[in-house]
Symmetry: C2
């Protein structure tokens, strides 16, 4: 894509723009103009070019969904840089949207849009092996099995969303205002999560209060441990990998690492921004 281009990681609620020159990020900008806040995408894209320069542009994330600018149809897994580059949605000669990835392996439908750039970039940059298990914790945690440097299969768990729902609505909300960290209560929750019996384990938080078994100051950490722990336990139950590579902010990454290690695996932290940049560079190179 020439010597300089713009990459935009454009999600539902946020976007991050990178100005890349000769393979190096020279300027970046983050704002809350996610796709749900944008009405006129041509105008928004012109605005980015106005601030960063009139350059070619690669867009990734929800901008390519049916709530974004144009729909870039999913590429079926297994999918690598070449498959994504061959299926870029060309908005015009200088503007393209990266497609998401879908899977129906294992009998359950799943989709991703935006995460694929980080995943493939982590391999491209040598941050993770070409055959590895990667986790991208968040509202919807993605777990991807990489094989030969491609996304072979993946699973999304709405772990973060469930936690947010339970903290805001329903029976447990009033109990879940405490701080969350990788403490003893969190580890107890992770252990309980190994039962993979969420609906019953959650009621146990209420019962523990009624019986005076756990202080409510610890209930949020326990609930977080329970939800993350059952996500981790479910994903590791069928996994051959002894190591998990985590792409997340440090706080959430630390919680997942604690749960992964409590389940007998080794957790490594990977710089998700570096992975995104490497992925978008690889896509840009493959496109030429």
């Amino acid at each position: 894509m020439g010597e300089a281009f713009l990459a935009v990681d454009w999600g539902t609620t946020n976007r991050r723009t990178y100005l890349i020159e000769n393979g190096v990020v020279v300027r970046t900008e983050r704002d809350d103009l996610g796709v749900t806040s944008v009405r006129d995408f041509e105008d928004a894209v012109a605005g980015i070019r106005g601030r960063f320069g009139d350059l070619p542009m690669l867009l990734a994330g929800m901008v390519g969904s049916n709530i974004g600018w144009r729909v870039a149809p999913y590429v079926a897994a297994p999918a690598g840089i070449d498959e994504l580059a061959a299926n870029l949605l060309e908005v015009d000669a200088r503007t393209a949207i990266v497609p998401g990835v879908s899977t129906r392996a294992g009998g359950r439908a799943d989709v991703m849009r935006g995460e694929e750039v980080q995943l493939l970039g982590a391999v491209a940059a040598g941050l993770v092996p070409a055959d590895a298990l990667l986790a991208q914790p968040g509202t919807h945690c993605k777990w991807a099995l990489m094989a030969d440097g491609r996304i072979a299969d993946f699973t999304t768990a709405m772990t973060g969303e469930l936690f947010a729902l339970l903290r805001t609505h329903g029976l447990l909300a009033a109990q879940l205002h405490g701080e969350v960290g990788a403490n003893a209560a969190f580890r107890e929750g992770v252990e309980e999560g190994r039962r993979r019996d969420l609906a019953a384990s959650l009621f146990g938080i209420r019962a523990a209060k009624m019986l005076g078994v756990r202080d409510d100051a610890d209930a949020a950490a326990f609930a977080s441990g329970l939800l993350i722990g059952s996500d981790v336990a479910a994903r590791l139950a069928g996994a051959d990998h002894d190591e998990v590579f985590i792409l997340a902010n440090p706080e959430l990454g630390a919680l997942y690492a604690t749960a992964i290690e409590a389940n007998g695996r080794t957790a490594h932290h990977v710089d998700s921004h570096a992975a995104f940049v490497a992925g978008i560079l690889a896509l840009g190179a493959a496109r030429q």
Copy 2:
């Protein structure tokens, strides 16, 4: 308790009053004056006696909790009619509240309040064997293991509450407005629930929409099957019983029966009102 008495099944949002003469219900009344709608319980109880007669009274349910009239402390499982009768909270010489039951068996705290009368009554009336697995589906589904006619252990799953939360808030809410019945989509959900991987299976509902795999008209039935199915699968995983006795309204009972039978067990329906009356009669008799 003499020849005539009043029994009140007094829950959080509803209450049901029974006038019982010589062991037979001669009149019943149901209203929405659950404990959260009542400020003055002495006045409310006087109102019941004004309508039904100035009789002795046994109260069960949340009326004995810290959001009710007086706290009737939990009796630890195993608990039968005799243990509950010995621990009635006597408000006055003619008015008593049935205590709830607690357990910490299996390492998880659990509590019930109100359900114990139905459970013990089902055995007392001969509606279920003295050694049996009983299910009381609802917002918080109770599963009780009866042994020698007593509540030996139990588990509560907040299955109904999770379904209500997901229908009202968050990513899936817009998809979950369809009807729920024991149809093919419900059975698919039950099958998916056997994975006991709720956070991932729930995201699959979203992905199925994005990939056009399932019509949204079927999404609510699938989600209900998934939640009930994972509840049933978790409970039956460690259960020796080939039969499950369900105390519920016909609609919810049919859904649980479908999930139980899909998991290779036999489901029987039990009249929960008859069970309550038998339980309260047995408590009244044991009290004398």
